[in-house]
Symmetry: D3
Subunit: 140 residues, 6 copies
Amino acid sequence: MILLTRRATFSASHYYWNPAWSEERNREVFGRCANRNGHGHNYTLEVTVTGAIDGVSGFVVDLKWLKDLIEEQVLSVYDHRHLNHEVPEFAKLIPTTENIAVSVWKRLEAPVAAAGGAKLSRVRVYETPDIFADYSGETD
Amino acid sequence: MILLTRRATFSASHYYWNPAWSEERNREVFGRCANRNGHGHNYTLEVTVTGAIDGVSGFVVDLKWLKDLIEEQVLSVYDHRHLNHEVPEFAKLIPTTENIAVSVWKRLEAPVAAAGGAKLSRVRVYETPDIFADYSGETD
Amino acid sequence: MILLTRRATFSASHYYWNPAWSEERNREVFGRCANRNGHGHNYTLEVTVTGAIDGVSGFVVDLKWLKDLIEEQVLSVYDHRHLNHEVPEFAKLIPTTENIAVSVWKRLEAPVAAAGGAKLSRVRVYETPDIFADYSGETD
Amino acid sequence: MILLTRRATFSASHYYWNPAWSEERNREVFGRCANRNGHGHNYTLEVTVTGAIDGVSGFVVDLKWLKDLIEEQVLSVYDHRHLNHEVPEFAKLIPTTENIAVSVWKRLEAPVAAAGGAKLSRVRVYETPDIFADYSGETD
Amino acid sequence: MILLTRRATFSASHYYWNPAWSEERNREVFGRCANRNGHGHNYTLEVTVTGAIDGVSGFVVDLKWLKDLIEEQVLSVYDHRHLNHEVPEFAKLIPTTENIAVSVWKRLEAPVAAAGGAKLSRVRVYETPDIFADYSGETD
Amino acid sequence: MILLTRRATFSASHYYWNPAWSEERNREVFGRCANRNGHGHNYTLEVTVTGAIDGVSGFVVDLKWLKDLIEEQVLSVYDHRHLNHEVPEFAKLIPTTENIAVSVWKRLEAPVAAAGGAKLSRVRVYETPDIFADYSGETD
């Protein structure tokens, strides 16, 4: 059992807001994060795959391919964007660290599986160096 | 399965000493750590909880609540303290990184469970950037 | 000559846009940063003061006082805010890393001097771990 | 269940090359890593052991012993070396991050077990801060 | 006086060897670094420029331009290379951290000046997180 | 003008206390740092020297020699010690970050000068990643 991880970063804006709640309730639950002008973070993403080491190349997966996949599936959509306003899955889903981890998983799981040989094992998202969420899929 | 982690730091003194041993034996086993004047570290703590993501807030737990809980249960007792002399659990227990991880777990497990919705999943304690211990409870 | 530095962090949104230019020109000069929905960063701030070490306290300045000053003068205004929309100095000034460094300097120079005993020596602002600006005042 | 981890670093050269392939094929699969003059990295190694905490010492293992073991079994062989040319296991095995993790595991598993009381739990190898592999043994 | 810095990384091999000396003398002076198979590092480079902040763009220099310049003048020549064998300036010059800092300065000084508006202020090279050299030009 | 820096770490205890003051006054000025049981830190030290690059070796100074000098002059005295009780210069001098920086300078200035070829340029001491002091000598 070998795990291979590639880290990537993106910078984005977000805010936390539940439209079914009053402004007062939003401020109470979300504090400073409820500021609808948005604030932002340098997010760090760790994408972990697992599989057998190919005996010829010594690779679980080609890290250049994994980098390009993360770029194509995640960074090109999230980086330098306002998550609430510009990323489809956050139109109604609050972009908390937890929800971002699940959303990145959903964007990567099928393309990793489709490439054959390895599967997605874990997605970690750091909102700041002090806060991070890990998601490993539903049946893990 | 989602994990959410919050990092915190505290600065404390400690030393390693077994009163049932001679000074010579203490020096042999604990080396420089046996200096009874104490020495200290900037400890880094990672507290990980697990649970379902609340569909309304997008939270596993409220990170502000978790921060306050760590402050109240751990930092207010450990930070800027001499662990051997001022923290009850280390009156007789040697404050190694391993024992600190277990002790932080014991301080946080019940209050996290009592809040409902999530449970403590892992406590990691870094004594230095190069040494850390992870504890996940007895039956994990 | 002793320098004493305190680090702080804030999370904010911003974008780069010159209203005198066409959208095309803005995109050409500012690239992805011209996205008017904004994007964001975890900024790290280093505030350096210089002065004599007080013979009694061993302090150049009281670091608790410096922390509170940074909180009051900078973080309370910048943190969890959209710099372009909510911070007065960036209403017309593009919030580049360079301009943020100068603006933090302007916010801190007089209160540090007013406290007596030390003066502001340098402000460093990291937009990401890979990009930072230093400002040391006009006559330094 | 407690895990105890010690970090260590080594600086080494390597390249990726499959002698059964043409130069063209090597360049295609391995890109810049196929440069046979070699290039290098500051590798970071995390060695994790698991076992019971000794009630007398408070140790899972003596970290000084673990440090010396890593030095003797791994660093003395890998550090300041060209992995392909000077480390036996990479004479025919391509020194990818994945293969290095497995090789470090093989060097440490038996001596950790032989010492009694703890067993090797995981080896993590960082090639850069952005790329790392974890290996936990065949049956883990 | 504003300074703007961009960080970049490259991975390279090197060794220390003075052909005018005996092997014994080389080992004595250069220790493990005298291994002629080479070893390697993840080097981190900080390139600092200074100039006035442009009133329209808010830039000292365009960081995208600076990134491309570092890529073109330094990384394309140093990254994934054996410094002694493949980089012209190190054919006869020992690639110590100090000499790398001076060499990077020489590669960047003229193109930064030629672009107008800013000049190179400092080059810092980290060989490891614990060793770095700063060069600021001859007349600084 | 080239600067060469070596980083080192030590772990020590300390407290802040002025015996000429009442306990109340000590608590008021020094806060939690006035706890006389002591607390501790992982200090990081950066020692910077300056000089010409030797044309034969490519060195400003031999970094192995500098490492040994820091070990002999500073770490062997400070590491795993209680600064107030065991380090002579802090018998009466409060071991603030500022005073530690000056004390390390005093310990290293003469031996660096005595070795010839380079002189001490700066000492930086980090008490935590967020607090550091720089000292460059009296006439710098």
